[in-house]
Point group: C2
Chain length 343, copies 2
Amino acid sequence: MKATVMYAAGDVRVEKVPDARLVEASDALVRVTHACICGSDLWPYKKMARSDVGNRMGHEFIGLVEAVGADVRTVKRGDLVVAPFAWSDGTCVFCRQGLQTSCLHGGWWGGTDLDGGQGEAVRIPQADGTLVVLPVARDHALMPSLLTLSDVMGTGHHAALAAKVGPGKSVAVVGDGAVGLCGVIAARRLGAEQIILLGRRPDRIALAKEFGATDIVTERGEEAVARVQELTDDLGAHSVLECVGLEEAVVTSLQLARAGGAVGRVGVPQDNNLAGGIPFWKNVSVGGGPAPVRAYIEELLPDVLEGHIEPGRVFDRTGPLDDVPDGYRAMNERESIKVLIEF
Amino acid sequence: MKATVMYAAGDVRVEKVPDARLVEASDALVRVTHACICGSDLWPYKKMARSDVGNRMGHEFIGLVEAVGADVRTVKRGDLVVAPFAWSDGTCVFCRQGLQTSCLHGGWWGGTDLDGGQGEAVRIPQADGTLVVLPVARDHALMPSLLTLSDVMGTGHHAALAAKVGPGKSVAVVGDGAVGLCGVIAARRLGAEQIILLGRRPDRIALAKEFGATDIVTERGEEAVARVQELTDDLGAHSVLECVGLEEAVVTSLQLARAGGAVGRVGVPQDNNLAGGIPFWKNVSVGGGPAPVRAYIEELLPDVLEGHIEPGRVFDRTGPLDDVPDGYRAMNERESIKVLIEF
């Protein structure tokens, strides 16, 4: 069969590869009818080191089931199916909570061991957990939109959920690629009142407006931040969708958010720094900051007065005001947990 | 009056300063009865550059209202009050949503312009929005616990909320200072099933156990991560409370979290990098990662089939498999938003 193989940055070939086939009893074999190229495919296209064997490419596809292994129950030969960009067993603790990208027995398409979506056929591991049957024929007019469910539409939706988009909120979308544009659709669908797209190209701006963008910001960096401030009564956006992945875009996204707001990141991080790699790949959210204890005093006061909690036990030293300098020393040397001053 | 002034790292003095007094009509004047030293006071104690005027210190205090300005309505002379570690007007958009630390007209105690809590009296700006009256006498046995409501107990609670602690969850607490210990209290109060404290000192470990810690990890870094994995069926903790602020502790916290989990950061960031300063100070949450599109396909499919959303419009070029290499080029040069491949 023919499939797409990338050998190095800028070196993408469509060539003969071994035919896809069933291996495990939980596999399906899918004949691809529709596939596409992803913005994330461009990262290796820009910087992949040369490889002799090459990497099979593509992780977004629709196709017809040609054969299934003995254990497959939910799809059968002839079904039109869409595949998500990661395969998953559908039964592990993470799949059951809807985080199939962290499936304990799942993985990613392509590379050196598996078929990719940009080819004529694909072996589907964990077919029951992975594939979703489409109730339409392969020539249905909605096929392009259905194909986006394999990645970009779901990814824009994920950004919007992580950014806590909701009715009445102001949303900024960083990135005018397919994911950013789908982020606009997702923000509109979730009820956002104001949707600000940061983008520059007229065709993408026009499409974003049709998808529901209410404002367009063509500036970048600090100027974009200033413009979004103006558009949001100097408060910033409630929700920011980071749909690029470059550190500059991540920083801009953090700057665009108002106090108490949320940034939803789906741009594949290109800078594997602290803010990037660790929390991103496992979908860990990071929150917090200076505690609004004024609000919590009223919430926690009854528990203290009723004796349900005794946080005062953290004080292990008490003294008068003149004891303060030595109190600093004692805490700094970890001799004392916390010093109480009585007047 | 006497108050605490810091002039440089390691140079803390209790000395005569100008008497606190009412300035604005919204002020109150509070005679301090109880105050304390905070772990965050130790950061300048370790590294403050020398200052001729010095910084007034202290942001946690209880006291008796001695006088109020003409506009003050909610507190009166003689009331025993607790102050949160930041003052706030109680009426702005952020205060109304319970994020008083981002009050548009608020601020922080001490420094060069305001009194600090580690002194005999404090001028309270925005007294109505800031102070909370305590329904007890100043010699009440619970005074230490009530004082923790000004910062460390509320801060531990904030960490637990940001880390999404809830019934049945496994929680890791990084840091065995007063905030970490209060984080244990907060996690227990919010129903956590497993509470793992990372700490080393026997007195703090003993107190953490009394507060509800179920497991203690004395290792640090990668070894601590491995130990927490063991304690959580190799999944990691649902919720991680970062109560230190050093980059090493933040990295460990991110590593301790399981996929789909949450890290709540309240340790004042000492490394003002991307992950640190910007989102922390305004309490912006950052989430997202690879989208679990397998879950979203089922959620979004009806909207596509019914024509409510048309994400397929992001495709602006269609070709056969052999078109793929040029499709990469076109997308890389931003000539095309997204390329569809039909078989």
